[in-house]
C-alpha cells in the first residue's frame, strides 16, 4: 500500500492526524490559561501520588467539568481529543480497507480498535 494505489488514504490519514493534534493543543492552551489565572499562585504538589478525582479521569466527569468551564477539565478534554486522534486514524484506515474489499485488514483494524476502546473503559 505504499504505492500510488493507496495514496489518497495516506493523505487523508495525514490530514486527520494533523487536525487532531492541533485541536487538542488549542483546548489544552485554553484550559491551561484558565487554570493558571485561577490557580497559578498556589503551591504545587506532585511529589506524592494520590490519583486524580473522577472529574478528571472519566469521560462523563470531564465533559461535566467542561460545561462548568473548569480549566483543568478543559485541559483533560484536549488530552481526550489527543488520545482519540490515533483511534480515529485506525477507524479511518479500516474504512479505507473496507472500500477496497480488503477484509483481512478490516478485521485487523477492528481488533486494534477494540483494544484501544477497551483501554479507554478499563479504568472505571
Amino acid at each position: 500500500m505504499t504505492g500510488s494505489r493507496g495514496h489518497s488514504l495516506e493523505v487523508r490519514l495525514g490530514g486527520l492526524l494533523r487536525t487532531g493534534v492541533l485541536l487538542a493543543a488549542l483546548f489544552v492552551i485554553a484550559g491551561g490559561s484558565v487554570y493558571l489565572v485561577r490557580h497559578g499562585g498556589e503551591q504545587p504538589s506532585y511529589g506524592h501520588f494520590e490519583g486524580e478525582p473522577a472529574a478528571y479521569r472519566t469521560v462523563a466527569g470531564i465533559l461535566q467539568g467542561v460545561v462548568n468551564l473548569s480549566g483543568r477539565a478543559i485541559i483533560q478534554f484536549g488530552l481526550l481529543v489527543l488520545i482519540a486522534t490515533p483511534i480515529a486514524r485506525v477507524a479511518t484506515a479500516g474504512f479505507g480497507f473496507a472500500r477496497r474489499r480488503d477484509w483481512t485488514y478490516v478485521v485487523i483494524c477492528s481488533v486494534v480498535l477494540a483494544l484501544l476502546l477497551y483501554g479507554l473503559v478499563s479504568g472505571k
Partner: protein, 282 residues
C-alpha cells in the same frame, strides 16, 4: 528543585519539555526518555504522574510527525496496522502492570532501557539489505511486502520473520505502557534487524505506530487517574513545540555530534535513575 508556585513550575517544566522535545526529534529517539528523568529527578514529581504526562506528549509528537511522513510514501501502513495488534496488547498490559509494580522497579527498568537507547544511538544506521531468505509465508498471506521511493524510482522489498517481529513488538508495547515512552528504538530494531525492512521504512512506520501504542496505554492511565491536567499541560505543549522546531532545523544540524551529545545525556540520566531507584529515593 521545588518551585514555590504552580505558575513557576509550569514555566520551568514547559521550558524543560521544550528542550526534551527538541533533542528527541533531532536525534529521532523521542522526548520521553529525557522527560521522565527530568520530571522525577529534577522536579521531584512522582513517577506515575511523570509517565502519564509523558505518554500524552508521545501521542502529540508522533502524530504530528507521522502526518508528514505518511505523505512521503515510506510508511508501510499494512505492516504498521498488523503490528499494532501486538503493540496495543502489550501497551495495555504494561499500563495495567504499572499499577502493581513498585516505583523502584519501574525506575530501575527505565534506567536499563535508557542505557540501551544510549548505546543504540551511538551505532550507525545499518545498510539496507535485499531480502535474501526468500519471502515469508505469513508476509505473503497478509500482503505485507511493499515498495518505497529510492533514487527517483520505486524499490521493492520483502518482509521477513513476521512472527518474531510481532513478538518483539509486543515487548515494545509493554515497555511503552510500563515506562511511558514511545519505545521507538525497539520498534525500529524489530522492523529493521528482524523483519528486514529498509531503514527509512522502519523509522517512519515505527513513528506511525507509536501514536496508537501510546494511546492504548494513555487511556488506561487517564482512567486510573495518572494523567494530571496541571502537569500534562506544560509537558505536552512544550514537547510538541520543541519537536516541531527540531524537525524544521534537523536538516542543518550535525547529526553525528548531536547523537553523541544525546547519548551522553541519556547515559548520565540512566545512571541517576538506577542509583536513585536502588537507594529508594525516586
Amino acid at each position: 528543585m521545588h518551585p514555590s508556585t504552580i505558575l513557576v513550575l509550569t514555566l520551568l517544566v514547559g521550558s524543560g519539555s521544550f528542550l526534551a522535545g527538541l533533542l528527541g526529534s533531532m536525534t529521532g529517539l523521542g522526548g520521553g526518555v529525557v522527560l521522565i528523568p527530568m520530571l522525577t529527578l529534577l522536579f521531584g514529581v512522582d513517577i506515575h504522574y511523570a509517565i502519564g504526562a509523558s505518554l500524552v506528549s508521545v501521542i502529540a509528537t508522533s502524530s504530528g510527525a507521522a502526518a508528514a511522513y505518511v505523505r512521503e510514501g515510506f510508511t508501510n501502513i499494512r505492516v504498521g496496522m498488523f503490528l499494532e495488534i501486538a503493540t496495543s496488547l502489550g501497551a495495555i498490559g504494561g499500563a495495567l502492570l504499572a499499577a502493581s509494580v513498585n516505583t523502584r522497579w519501574i525506575g530501575l527498568i527505565f534506567g536499563v532501557v535508557l542505557l540501551h537507547s544510549a548505546y543504540m544511538s551511538l551505532r550507525p544506521p545499518p545498510r539496507d539489505v535485499d531480502g535474501a531468505n526468500g519471502p515469508s509465508r505469513l508476509a505473503k498471506a497478509l500482503s505485507l511486502d511493499g515498495e518505497y521511493p529510492y533514487e527517483g524510482g520505486m524499490r521493492q522489498y520483502q518482509v521477513q520473520s513476521v512472527g518474531a517481529g510481532f513478538a518483539l513488538m509486543g515487548l515494545a508495547g509493554v515497555l511503552s505502557g510500563l515506562l511511558g515512552i514511545g519505545s521507538g528504538a525497539f520498534k525500529v530494531l524489530a522492523m529493521d534487524r528482524v523483519m528486514k525492512l529498509p531503514f527509512k521504512v522502519s523509522t517512519t512506520t515505527s513513528n506511525f505506530m507509536i501514536g496508537v501504542t501510546a494511546a492504548a496505554s494513555a487511556s488506561v492511565y487517564l482512567g486510573r487517574g495518572y494523567v494530571d491536567p496541571g502537569l500534562s499541560m506544560p509537558v505536552m505543549l512544550g514537547v510538541l513545540a520543541g519537536s516541531l522546531l527540531g524537525a524544521k532545523i534537523l536538516a542543518h544540524a550535525p547529526a553525528r555530534k548531536l547523537r553523541m551529545l544525546f547519548a551522553a545525556v541519556i547515559g548520565f540520566l540512566a545512571i541517576q535513575m538506577i542509583y536513585n531507584s536502588l537507594r529508594g529515593t525516586l
